[in-house]
C-alpha cells in the first residue's frame, strides 16, 4: 500500500516537474514572442509617429529639399549615426542642373569622413541616374557639429536611400556611422518606408496640382484676353495664345525680351511692372495701340498667402470695339451739331440781311432769302423729329397706335402725295397691290405711312430722270421663298437674294426704283444711326439720313422685318413685312 503510495507520489512529483518544466518552457517561448511583438509594435508606432510628425511639418509643401531636410532632422530619435547627408539634383531654368550636397554632422568627424561620404554617395547617385557627376559639381553645405581634424574615425558603416518623386529619382539620402556593422536590415527598411511615404505624398500632391494647373492652363489658354505671367526672376512663365497673337508671335517659346521688344515703341512694360511691384497695386494703362488694335493693359502683382512676391500677371484686354463705338458716338455728335448749327447760322445771317435796304429793295433776292429760311427750318425740324423718334426707339418709349387699316388706301394716299415730286423729276410712279392682300390689317397708319414716305423720298432722290418707282404689296406665306414670290408677282427686284423665307405669314410692302443702286459695303450700314448722318453730310444730298433708322424701329415695333436689295446701276428695293396672323 505504502509502495503504491510512494510510487504514486513519485509519479505525481515527476509529472508535476514535467508539467512545470513544459509550462515554464512554453511560458518563456510566449514571453519571448510577446516581447518581440511588443518591440515590433513599438517600432511600428514610432515609425508612424515620425511619419505623422513629418506629415505635419511638411504640410502641403512641394519643395523636396525642405522635405528631405525635415526627414534628415528627425532621424536622430530613430537611429544612431555620425552624419546624415543628402544629394538633390534640380534642373535650372538655363537647362543645367544644380547638385546640392548637404551634410549634417551629429558627431564630430574629420574632413576625410566627409570626403568618403561624398564619394560613396556620388557613386550610388551616378548609378541611380546614369550620370557621371564629379565631386566638383557639388554645391556643399555642412551643418551640425564642427569638423574635428583630430578625429581618426572613418566611415564604419552606412546605407543610402534613394529619393524618388513620381517615377524619377532626384537624389539620395545617406546615413553613416563610425561604428562597423551598425545598421540592421530593419532600420534600413524603416528609412525606406519613411522616404517612400514622403515621396508618395509629394507625388500625389503634385498630381493634384498638375490637374488643377492643367485646368487653370486650359482656362488661361482659351481666354480671349492676352495673359502673361512673369515670375519673380523676371522670366516669362506663362503666355497664352491670345497674347501671342496680340504681340505678333507665332512660335512656341517666347522670352521676356521678345515681349519687351514687341512692346518697345508703344508701352514701357518694364517700368510698369516695377511700378506695380513697388506700389503693390493694380496698374491700368487705358489705351495702348498694338497692330492697329487698342488695348487696356492691366498689371497686377501676385503673392502667396504669406505675402511673398511670386511675380506679376499682365492682362491685355482688347478695347478696339469700344473705341470704335466711342468714336462713332463722337462723330455722331459732331455731325449732329454740324447739321443743326450750319443751317441755323445761315438762317440767322439771312434773317438779319432781310432788314437791309439792299435786300428789301431787291424783290427777287428778298423772296429767295425767305424761301431759304423756310426750307432750311423745315429740314432742321425734320432732323429734330427724327432724332426724337430715334431717342424714343432707343429708350423703348416708342408707342404704336394699331387699328384695322386698309393698306391699299394707305399706298394710294402715298402715291398721291408723291406724284408732284415724281413728276418734277420726270419719274414714273406706279403701284401694284396683289388681289389676295386682305382688306384690313392691324397697324399704326401714321407710322407705316412715315416708313413709306422715307422709302419713296429716298427712291426719288437717288433715281435719275426717266426712271421708274414701284410700290408693291403681296402676301408671303410661311416658309415660301421671297425671291420666288417676287417672280410670281411679275416684279423685278435688282440684286434680290434666294433663300429668304419666314416662320409666319407676312404681308410684304416694297418700294423699288431704277436708280443708281447702293454699293454692297454700304448696305449693312444703312440702318445704323451713327453712320447715317455722316454719309448724308458727305453725299451732299439733303435729308437727315435718320429716316431709315426710324423706319427700322417702326417695322420692328410691328414685329416685322425691314430689308433692302440693290444692284449697282440697276436699282434698289426697300421692303418691310407685317405679320398677318396676329389676332389683336
Amino acid at each position: 500500500m505504502s509502495f503504491n503510495l510512494v510510487n504514486l507520489l513519485l509519479l505525481l512529483g515527476i509529472f508535476t516537474a514535467v508539467v512545470v518544466t513544459v509550462f515554464l518552457f512554453e511560458f518563456r517561448k510566449v514571453q519571448v514572442n510577446l516581447l518581440k511583438r511588443e518591440k515590433e509594435m513599438n517600432q511600428r508606432m514610432y515609425q508612424l509617429s515620425i511619419l505623422r510628425e513629418l506629415g505635419e511639418r511638411i504640410g502641403y509643401s512641394l519643395k523636396i529639399d525642405q522635405i528631405v531636410e525635415i526627414i534628415a532632422g528627425s532621424l536622430r530619435r530613430l537611429l544612431d549615426y555620425s552624419t546624415v547627408s543628402y544629394i538633390l539634383v534640380t534642373p535650372k531654368p538655363d537647362g543645367t542642373r544644380k547638385i546640392e550636397y548637404n551634410i549634417n554632422l551629429e558627431k564630430p568627424v574629420n574632413k576625410k569622413f566627409i570626403d568618403d561620404n561624398k564619394k560613396v554617395m556620388l557613386k550610388s547617385l551616378n548609378i541611380l541616374l546614369g550620370k557621371d557627376f564629379q565631386v566638383d559639381d557639388l554645391e556643399e553645405t555642412i551643418s551640425g557639429t564642427i569638423t574635428d581634424p583630430t578625429s581618426i574615425e572613418s566611415v564604419g558603416s552606412f546605407f543610402n536611400v534613394p529619393i524618388v518623386i513620381g517615377d524619377s529619382p532626384v537624389g539620395l539620402l545617406n546615413i553613416s556611422s563610425n561604428q562597423k556593422n551598425r545598421y540592421k536590415k530593419e532600420e534600413v527598411e524603416i528609412l525606406y518606408t519613411i522616404m517612400n511615404q514622403a515621396s508618395d505624398a509629394v507625388t500625389k500632391l503634385q498630381h493634384v496640382l498638375n490637374v488643377e494647373k492643367g485646368k487653370l492652363n486650359s482656362m488661361v489658354a482659351s481666354m480671349a484676353d492676352g495673359v502673361l505671367m512673369i515670375d519673380n526672376q523676371k522670366q516669362l512663365s506663362v503666355i497664352n495664345t491670345a497674347a501671342k497673337l496680340m504681340l505678333g508671335f507665332s512660335g512656341e517659346n517666347v522670352t521676356i525680351f521678345e515681349v519687351l521688344d514687341a512692346l518697345a515703341t508703344t508701352f514701357d512694360l518694364r517700368n510698369k511692372l516695377q511700378d506695380s511691384m513697388r506700389e503693390d497695386r493694380l496698374v491700368i494703362s487705358p489705351a495702348v495701340t498694338l497692330n492697329n488694335h487698342f488695348f487696356q493693359i492691366l498689371i497686377s502683382p501676385v503673392k502667396d498667402k504669406d505675402k511673398n512676391f511670386l511675380g506679376s500677371v499682365v492682362l491685355f484686354h482688347d478695347i478696339t470695339k469700344e473705341k470704335e463705338v466711342e468714336k462713332m458716338r463722337e462723330d455722331f455728335t459732331n455731325m449732329m451739331v454740324h447739321e443743326l448749327r450750319s443751317p441755323l447760322t445761315g438762317i440767322k445771317g439771312i434773317a438779319s440781311l432781310l432788314e437791309s435796304d439792299r435786300v428789301k429793295q431787291d424783290e427777287k433776292k428778298f423772296s429767295e432769302f425767305v424761301n431759304l429760311i423756310v426750307t432750311n427750318t423745315k429740314d432742321m425740324l425734320g432732323l429734330v423729329n427724327d432724332l426724337l423718334d430715334v431717342a424714343k426707339l432707343e429708350s423703348g418709349k416708342f408707342q404704336l397706335i394699331k387699328k384695322a387699316t386698309p393698306i391699299r388706301s394707305v399706298i394710294d394716299t402715298r402715291i398721291g402725295s408723291f406724284k408732284a415730286l415724281a413728276d418734277e423729276g420726270s419719274l414714273e410712279l406706279v403701284s401694284h397691290v396683289d388681289e389676295k392682300v386682305p382688306e384690313n390689317l392691324e397697324f399704326d397708319e401714321h407710322k407705316i405711312s412715315q416708313v413709306l414716305n422715307n422709302f419713296l423720298s429716298n427712291s426719288i432722290k437717288f433715281t435719275n430722270a426717266g426712271g421708274k418707282i414701284t410700290i408693291c404689296a403681296f402676301l408671303l406665306p410661311r416658309g415660301i421663298d421671297l425671291a420666288r414670290t417676287v417672280v410670281e408677282q411679275k416684279l423685278v427686284w435688282p440684286g434680290i437674294k434666294q433663300g429668304i423665307s419666314f416662320q409666319d405669314n407676312y404681308l410684304v410692302v416694297a418700294v423699288t426704283d431704277t436708280g443708281e443702286g447702293i454699293p454692297a459695303d454700304k448696305i449693312d450700314k444703312l440702318f445704323n444711326k451713327f453712320v447715317q448722318l455722316e454719309n448724308t453730310a458727305k453725299s451732299g444730298k439733303k435729308g437727315t439720313g435718320l429716316g431709315l433708322v426710324v423706319s427700322k424701329g417702326v417695322v420692328e415695333a410691328h414685329n416685322g422685318v425691314i430689308g433692302v436689295f440693290s444692284e449697282a446701276g440697276e436699282g434698289t428695293t426697300f421692303y418691310f413685312t407685317l405679320p398677318i396672323n396676329i389676332n389683336k
Binding site: H338, S342, P343, T345, R358, I373, K538
Partner: protein, 132 residues
C-alpha cells in the same frame, strides 16, 4: 487796285453761303460761291479771287484737301485763305493754319463786323507783302 476786291466763298451749306455772299457784297466786295471743294478749286482758277473763305467740312473734297492742292499749285499758292469753321475743330484749325491758312472765322457766332474786319485785315496784310 481801285476796283472791288474779289472773294470766293466755298461753303456747302446753301443758306450760309447765301448769307456770307450777301454780307460781303454789302461790305463792298465782289463774290462768287462754290458748294464743294472741287467746284471751289475750279473757281479759284477761273474767278482769280483775292481771298478765299474756305469751309473745312464739305462733300466731295474737304477744305483741308483744297488748301493742300492750292499750296501745291504756283498759280494759287499765294492766294490768302480764311478758314470757316466750328468751335469744336481746334485740331483742324491748327492743322489748316500750319498748312498756310491766314486766319479763321468761327461760323456759329460771327458778326457782320467780324467778317468784314477779318477779310479787310487779311487783304491789306497780303498787299503789303507780309507773309504772316
Amino acid at each position: 487796285m481801285s476796283e472791288k476786291a474779289k472773294i470766293l466763298v466755298v461753303e456747302d451749306e446753301e443758306i450760309l453761303l447765301a448769307a456770307l455772299e450777301e454780307e460781303l457784297n454789302q461790305g463792298g466786295y465782289e463774290t462768287q460761291g462754290a458748294a464743294d471743294g472741287s467746284e471751289g478749286l475750279e473757281k479759284i482758277k477761273s474767278f482769280k479771287p483775292d481771298l478765299v473763305l474756305l469751309d473745312l467740312v464739305m462733300p466731295k473734297m474737304d477744305g483741308m484737301q483744297v488748301l493742300k492742292k492750292m499750296k501745291e499749285d504756283s498759280e494759287t499758292k499765294n492766294v490768302p485763305v480764311v478758314i470757316l469753321t466750328n468751335l469744336s475743330d481746334y485740331e483742324r484749325i491748327s492743322e489748316a493754319l500750319s498748312l498756310g491758312a491766314k486766319d479763321y472765322l468761327v461760323k456759329a457766332n460771327y458778326s457782320l463786323a467780324d467778317l468784314l474786319d477779318k477779310v479787310k485785315t487779311v487783304l491789306s496784310r497780303n498787299q503789303s507783302g507780309e507773309t504772316k
